[in-house]
Structures are given as structure tokens and as C-alpha cells.
Amino acid sequence: MAEKTINITLKVWREGGKYGSGKFETYPLKDIGTDMSFLEMFDVLNEELVSKKEMPVAFEHDCREGICGTCSMVIDGQPHGPMKGTTTCQLHMRSFKDGATITVEPFRAKAFPVIRDLVVDRSSFDAIIQAGGYISVNTGQAQDANSIPIEKETSEKAFDAATCIGCGACVAACPNSAAMLFTSAKVSHLGTMPQGKVEADKRVQAMVNQMDKEGFGMCSNVKACEAECPKEISVENIAIMNRAYMSSVLGSDKEA
């Protein structure tokens, strides 16, 4: 691979420590290899800052393979940047032009308070799952795996929803900071499979109620969540969840 390089200007949101309630800081970067990932570009910047004895830019990252859901940046206005179906860690500098100014901010939402620079607190997602995002089966209670045949298409559909990595890009993309795509992906994953149908009514109510409690906004069908989702999870799941929620409220004697 003959290495191409570009020069860029980074405008990065810094918050906490000496930056207090936050401001943009500008960093020019030279000779950035286009085969570098976006986070490796941040590594280079941070090495530079450390060599100047400054605090590096705090950002979250871990697997760098697009699956753990840890990385979370809004790049030029888009969660995870310009490439469709891609997390920040899998975005490469070849997606940017020489001379570009790139603006990087944290995921912003009331339910995702900023911790430092680009790091936010997403424990509200855990709270939604804890409210009911599971099938209540204790270890050892299961029957033989093949005793529950599931139509391949059904299983695939559940899978498409189950690929959610819990990154929160859907919330960051939504003008209302709604967590509908995240919540509905879990409701739909479990509710689609026969194992998950038993508790479906209870689950959808518990999860939706928790979602509201955490301070996420309402859905107004903008569909920005689907457009920015690095796993390309469909908004159809939101419709599935709304239907499940309505029928659980209207069609059963259980309380909402």
C-alpha cells in the first residue's frame, strides 16, 4: 500500500479539567496517513499533546473492530462520521479530503451527560435493559436447544435487531434525543423469537417506562437514528415496539 497522507485541522470539543464547561480547541495535524483509522489519528494527536505535557483528548474506545459500541463521537455533525454503517473506530482517514477541517463533538443528549471531552455517560441504556431486556430463564432450566425450532427468516429478523451494539448513535442523531431505536431493537429481538414471547407484554411496558424515566425524548419519525446507526438497524423495529406496547396496554389486563 503506497501511503497517501493528508493535512487536516481538527476542531475538538474539550470539557472538564481546565476547560470547565467546555469549548472547542483547534489542532492542526500534518501528514496523516489515509490508511489510519479515525481513532489512530486521535492517538497521534494525543501522543503530541502528551509530549507537550498537556492532557490528551479523552475519548472512549476499546475493541476498535466496530462491535463493542464504546466509541462515540459526532464527526462533522454525524454520529460516527460520514460513512454509512460504520463505527468511528472503523472509519478511516481516506474518507477525508486533504485540507479538511473536521469538527468532533461528544454524543449530546440529556440522558447522556458529558464526563470529559468526548466521553459521555450512557448508563441509562443499561437501566433500560435491566428493566426487562431479557428472557427470564435461570441457568440450568433450559430444554434441549433443538426442541424450539425457529423459522430461518424469523431467526434472521431477530438477529438483525440483535446486532445493536448499544453505542447510542441513535440518540445522538435524534433531534429529540429519543432512545426508541435502541429500546425497540431489544424489544423486537426478543419478542420475535418464541422463547421471548412469554414475557413480551411485560417486557415492552417495563422497558418503555424505564426509557421515559431516564429522560430520553419522544419519537417524531425523523428516522435519523436509522440513517446513523452503525449496524443499520431498521426503524421498522420502532413500529414493532409501538404495536407491541399498544397491544400490551389495550389487549391485556396488565397495568401500563
Partner: protein, 661 residues
């Protein structure tokens, strides 16, 4: 054998050991479980499964992760699948065969009884995961699908596209979330374990640092379970996540837990090659790709820079198929990696650096395309149509992997072969544990990749997920009772005992030491240099001279670290550089132990290849007379170590030279 190294393997026939033991081991009654506290560190497959199951049983569990959420643990990144002796394919699989393959794959360096138990419970894991809603791949009839992995001649691998680890982890995470909701598990996110606390010789708690504000906290319990993963990041470049580290395990080691077989490292043959100096990590391409991908390099050196699609069949060397006709492209990982090293050493490597081989899907695309055409009743389909249908079939199997490869390399693997090269992936070594998964510290248990127990000198593909979940769901919930049944009269452990205060002070002074060096080199630069030493001298092949040199180099690097590292900021804030510094400090000690272990083991076995000990043709040459033991290292100050040996006995399997030819 040292008296601390009692393996506590139950008596009786191999196949009956676990069942009989389970039926007769001491239990803790439900009313007593309510009064007992357990700390679980780590929320990967082993940790989340253990915390959830122990919570279900009625224990009070406190669970810790340094991540912002338990769902981020690196088990999430496992791609290919999970083995289980279900024999759903009717191809002759059995518990014994899975046991046999695992022992053989591990090059006869694993403990028979543990591996047999693993094979037994493998079947329950699949049942459990399906019940939790894990969407495993299915056939059109609605039943579960399987594929093959390396070192195996049956199809026993269950999978969920190329993201099996993610789906299994979500299953374990959801079980854990349910227990958090019930209040049986208290979850501590963004807390890093920085020390293990012993009271009267028993593990009774941990010291953590709250990563948000630097607060040093004591947490007490009756018992501590470590499920903190492997130490592959000692090499700097590996397929591990950026934050994967050895610190929790290392702190237990320094408090008396023996560390076993540290030199057994798995170099995975199919990773995306290094592309530049800035490289921060390496990305795996699942071994499942070797079901359909063919590995080759050009026969002639001068072809290495050519466009591979223009090189005719007769000028290609499908070297795995040539050398190992019985297993072909599906030889175990250590064998495949070494073969890739040999061909690149000969100068036949490809890519810009010459450190890559091809993994080619052209024949699979053609084969699948033709079979689709037949299935659809097409007469004389065009080559383009066959290719199109074949590509679709390959996409269905490996779509997300191909997508990931293209994103990273900017090359389309449907059209041109992938370029791959071996990279550090997994560590078979780890904390020594007995049959109960208890370490040499009473009350301290180790699960999953953090322990050493099941994979010997080489792990077979799709066995890590199996072991993590086996330990967490089906082993520790029982075996922890052997310790806790004697603790039912022990009152709640207070976290303000002098032992905790002392440990807190030690942690604080370690942190201050790092912050006060005030040198000129970044933590990252030290980590990178350590990784380089490890890869050059303790990587894919090792020799006595290099290892001895490496030991000195590591000692010098460690000295330099403590005199010239620069860690910005303070303890009392969110400070990833400080987190990294604490982890690298531990890697700098572990690296030395790995080198000592590799130097002690004067043989080649599995992932440990000593150049001095090889058969003709470069195959590993084991020395069963002198080295059929687990090397369990006791920490002494200095740091220095004392070797203890657990001799391995094979009573149910014939020990022979591993052959995949």
C-alpha cells in the same frame, strides 16, 4: 509437586468424575447463601455468566468492570463460533471426541479431567443460550446450523453470523441485567481492580479505583472470582481490545496466586496485516473463513508483487493443502501460523511489507455459485451469473467479515484475495487453578481466559467462548461451594479491616509513584517498545539466546519506565493515561515472567515454538519425558519467580506426536 499445587481432581473414571463430584460435593443451603457475599471481577462471558448464575442461586454478588457497561467486555468481539458436542449433524461427534480434539489440539499440555468436564457441559451451554434468545444460525427446517473449525473433523461449531461472541455476551449480559434488576447483583461500572486483599490467608476483597474520580475504594466479600481475560496486550499489537490488560490477574499473582504456563501464547493465523507505524491494534479475520478460503502464496518470489488474480493456478502454492492433506486449510492455529512464517521467511510473502499471505475465496464462490445454479434448475448459467450467485452465498456466510475487511483495507475481498498474517490473539496461560477453579490463594477463583486450565499449549478455534461460558454458568456455581460451605459461620467481612487500609495505601503510593516520575516519554511509547521485544524474542518462534537477551532488555526498559515515564494530570480525575500507566507497569513485569517460562521450557509444543527443538520439516518437537508438566510460577520479590511443577497424567488418551498430515 509442591503441596500448594493440589489439583483436587476427583477419583473415579474420567467420564464419571464430574457427575459424581457434583452429586456429592458440599453445598451451601439457600438460607446461608443469602448471607454470603461474592465479588466477581470482569463481565465477559465467564464473568457475566458467573455473576448472573451466582445471583440466581441466591448469593449476594458484587460485580466489577472497568468498562462503562458490562456489555463492552472483549468477549463481544469473538467472531466465529462456539463448540459443543451435540452431534446434531450426525457426523460422529461425542463428548469423548471433543475432549480428545481439545487435548490433542493443546499438544498434550492440558489437564484431562478439566477438559473432559468442559466437553460434558458444552451441550448445556447451547441449550442455555438458545433459551436466553441467542439467535444462532439455523437451517431452513428451523433447527440449529453448524460449521467446522480448525483441528477438527466434525461440524460442531454453533455460530451467529460472524458475531457469535457479541450474541453470547448479550445473552450473558441480559442474564446479568436481570439479576441487577432483582438486586442480587450490585454492578460497579468504571471500577478497575488494583489489588486483591487477603485476610488470614484467604481472598476477602479487592481495592478498586473509580475511573471517573480516582477514588480508591475497598470492597469486601467472602470470596473473589477473577474473570478478567487474557494478557495478549503485553505484545502491544494484538487482536485484544485496547483496554484489555493483565492487572487484576497480576495483582492476584503478586499476592500469592501462581501463574501457569505464561509463555503459551496463541498467534492467530488470519489477521489483517500491519499497515503502518501508527497501528494501534490488529484485527482478526475469523478462522471460520478457512472453511471456504484457501491459503496460498506464489511459488516464485518474483510473482509476489503481482496482482494475485493474474497469477495462474500452476504458479500458486496452496501450502497448507500441500503439507497437510488430511486437514488442509483447517489445521490448528499454531500450525497454520508457523507455516505462514516459513513461507514469508522464504521470501514468498505478499503485500507491501512482504509479511502477508493470501486467503482466497475464488473457488468457494465458484463452488457455491454452481450449486445454487443446480438448486435453481438453471441450464448453462454464464460464468458471471455463477459468480454473482456464489458471491451472494459467501456474503450470507461471512458478509460482516468481508465488510470489515473492506473498511480497513479498502480492498474488495470478493474480487481479490484477502491478505492475512498471524497476530497475537489469545493466551492459553493464566492463573493456575485446581479442578474447582480455585487459585493457590484460598477463596480466590479464576475463570475463562484468565485461568490456564483447558487449552494446554494451543487453543482450538471456537473453544474460548465454550470455556468462558462453561466456567461461568456450569462450573463455578457448584465448585465455589467447596470453599464457601466452610464459610457459613463467617460473618460479613468488614472493608475497614487493617488489611484493606494497608492495601489502599499501597495502591495510592503506586499511583503517586507513577504521577511523580515526571519524565519525558509517554506510557504508549514504553508499551510499544515492550511489545516489540516480546514479538521479536518471545513471539512466533523463540530461542534460548534471544530469550535471555529479552529478559535483560525488559528489566532495563522497566527501570527506564520508572525513571522517565510521563503521566499527565492527577489521580482525582478521569485520566486514561494514568489507567494505561498502571496497566503497562504490570505488563512490564509479566513480560519478564513470560520470557523466563519460555526459557525454562526446552521443547516446542503448541503455541510455544523453540527453534532449537524442531522435527525435520519444522514441526514442533515435544519432550514428554521432561516437560509434561504445568509450569506454575510463584512470585518472589525482585521481581523473581520460583517454578512449581504440576505433572500431567494422560490415562484416557494415547499421547502421540500431533499430526495433521
Amino acid at each position: 509437586m509442591s503441596d500448594k499445587l493440589k489439583s483436587n481432581v476427583p477419583e473415579g473414571e474420567l467420564a464419571d468424575k464430574w457427575v459424581n463430584y457434583r452429586g456429592t460435593m458440599p453445598l451451601v443451603a439457600p438460607n446461608n447463601k443469602r448471607r454470603i457475599e461474592i465479588i466477581v471481577v470482569g463481565t465477559g462471558l465467564a464473568g457475566a455468566a458467573a455473576a448472573a448464575t451466582l445471583g440466581e442461586l441466591g448469593y449476594n454478588v458484587k460485580c466489577f468492570t472497568f468498562h462503562d457497561s458490562p456489555r463492552r467486555a472483549h468477549s463481544v468481539a469473538a467472531q466465529g463460533g462456539i463448540n459443543a458436542a451435540k452431534n446434531y449433524q450426525n457426523d460422529g461427534d461425542s463428548v469423548y471426541r471433543l475432549f480428545y480434539d481439545t487435548i490433542k489440539g493443546g499438544d498434550y499440555r492440558a489437564r484431562e479431567s478439566n477438559v473432559h468436564r468442559l466437553a460434558e457441559v458444552s451441550r448445556d451451554i447451547i441449550d442455555q443460550c438458545v433459551a436466553q434468545g441467542v439467535p444462532f444460525a439455523r437451517e431452513y427446517g428451523g433447527l440449529l446450523a453448524n460449521r467446522s473449525f480448525g483441528g477438527v473433523q466434525v461440524q460442531r461449531t454453533f455460530y451467529a453470523r460472524g458475531q457469535t461472541g457479541q450474541q453470547l455476551l448479550i445473552g450473558a449480559y441480559s442474564a446479568l441485567s436481570r439479576q441487577i434488576n432483582r438486586g442480587s447483583v450490585k454492578m460497579y461500572n468504571r471500577h478497575e481492580m488494583l489489588d486483591l486483599v487477603l485476610v488470614d490467608g484467604k481472598a476477602r476483597g479487592i481495592i478498586t479505583r473509580n475511573l471517573l474520580n480516582g477514588k480508591i475504594e475497598s470492597h469486601a466479600a467472602h470470596s473473589v472470582v477473577l474473570a478478567t481475560g487474557g494478557y495478549g496486550n503485553v505484545f502491544y499489537l494484538s487482536t485484544n481490545a485496547m483496554n484489555s490488560n493483565v492487572s487484576a490477574a497480576w495483582r492476584a499473582h503478586k499476592k500469592g496466586a501462581y501463574f501457569a504456563n505464561p509463555c503459551y501464547t496463541q498467534i492467530h493465523p488470519t489477521c489483517i496485516p500491519v499497515s503502518g507505524e501508527y497501528q494501534s491494534k490488529l484485527t482478526l479475520m475469523s478462522e471460520s473463513l478457512r472453511n471456504d478460503g484457501r491459503v496460498w502464496v506464489p511459488k516464485k518470489k518474483e510473482d509476489c508483487k503481482k496482482d494475485p488474480t493474474t497469477i495462474p493456478e500452476e504458479d500458486r502454492d496452496y501450502y497448507l493443502e500441500r503439507i497437510y492433506p488430511a486437514f488442509g486449510n483447517l489445521v490448528p492455529r499454531d500450525v497454520a501460523s508457523r507455516a505462514a512464517k516459513y513461507v514469508t521467511d522464504e521470501g514468498r510473502g505478499v503485500g507491501a511489507t512482504g509479511l502477508a499471505v493470501y486467503l482466497d475465496f475464488a473457488s468457494a464462490i465458484e463452488r457455491y455459485g454452481k450449486s445454487e445454479a443446480i438448486a435453481k434448475g438453471m441450464i448453462n448459467p454464464s460464468a458471471a451469473k455463477i459468480k454473482e450467485m456464489g458471491e451472494a452465498a459467501v456474503k450470507e456466510r461471512y458478509g460482516n467479515l468481508f465488510h470489515m475487511y473492506e473498511k480497513i483495507t479498502d480492498e474488495n475481498p470478493y474480487k481479490t484475495p484477502m491478505k492475512i498474517f498471524p497476530a497475537v490473539h489469545y493466551t492459553m496461560g493464566g492463573i493456575w487453578v485446581d479442578y474447582n477453579l480455585q487459585t493457590t490463594i484460598p477463596g480466590c477463583f479464576a475463570l475463562g481466559e484468565a485461568n490456564f486450565s483447558d487449552h494446554g499449549a494451543n487453543r482450538l478455534g471456537a473453544s474460548a467462548l465454550m470455556q468462558g461460558l462453561a466456567d461461568g454458568y456450569f462450573v463455578i456455581p457448584y465448585t465455589i461451594g467447596t470453599f464457601l460451605s466452610k464459610e457459613i459461620r463467617t460473618p460479613k467481612i468488614a472493608s475497614d479491616l487493617p488489611e484493606f487500609k494497608k492495601a489502599e495505601e499501597a495502591v495510592t503510593s503506586r499511583i503517586n509513584q507513577l504521577l511523580n516520575v515526571g519524565g519525558n516519554q509517554s506510557v504508549e511509547s514504553f508499551h510499544r517498545r515492550l511489545g516489540r521485544i516480546m514479538w521479536d524474542y518471545c513471539g512466533m518462534s523463540r530461542n534460548a539466546e534471544g530469550l535471555a537477551k529479552a529478559r535483560t532488555m525488559i528489566q532495563e526498559l522497566r527501570k527506564e519506565f520508572y525513571s522517565d515515564v510521563f503521566v499527565p494530570g492527577t489521580n482525582e480525575e478521569y485520566n486514561p493515561e494514568l489507567e494505561k500507566a498502571l496497566r503497562v507497569a504490570d505488563f512490564l513485569e509479566l513480560g519478564e515472567l513470560m520470557v523466563c517460562d519460555a526459557l525454562d521450557r526446552n521443547e516446542s509444543c503448541g503455541g510455544h515454538f523453540r527453534e532449537e527443538y524442531q522435527e525435520e520439516g519444522g514441526e514442533a518437537k515435544r519432550n514428554d519425558n521432561d516437560y509434561m508438566y504445568v509450569a506454575a510460577w510463584e512470585y518472589l520479590n525482585g521481581p523473581d519467580w520460583e517454578l512449581h511443577k504440576e505433572n500431567l497424567k494422560y490415562e484416557n488418551i494415547e499421547v502421540k506426536t500431533r499430526s495433521y498430515k
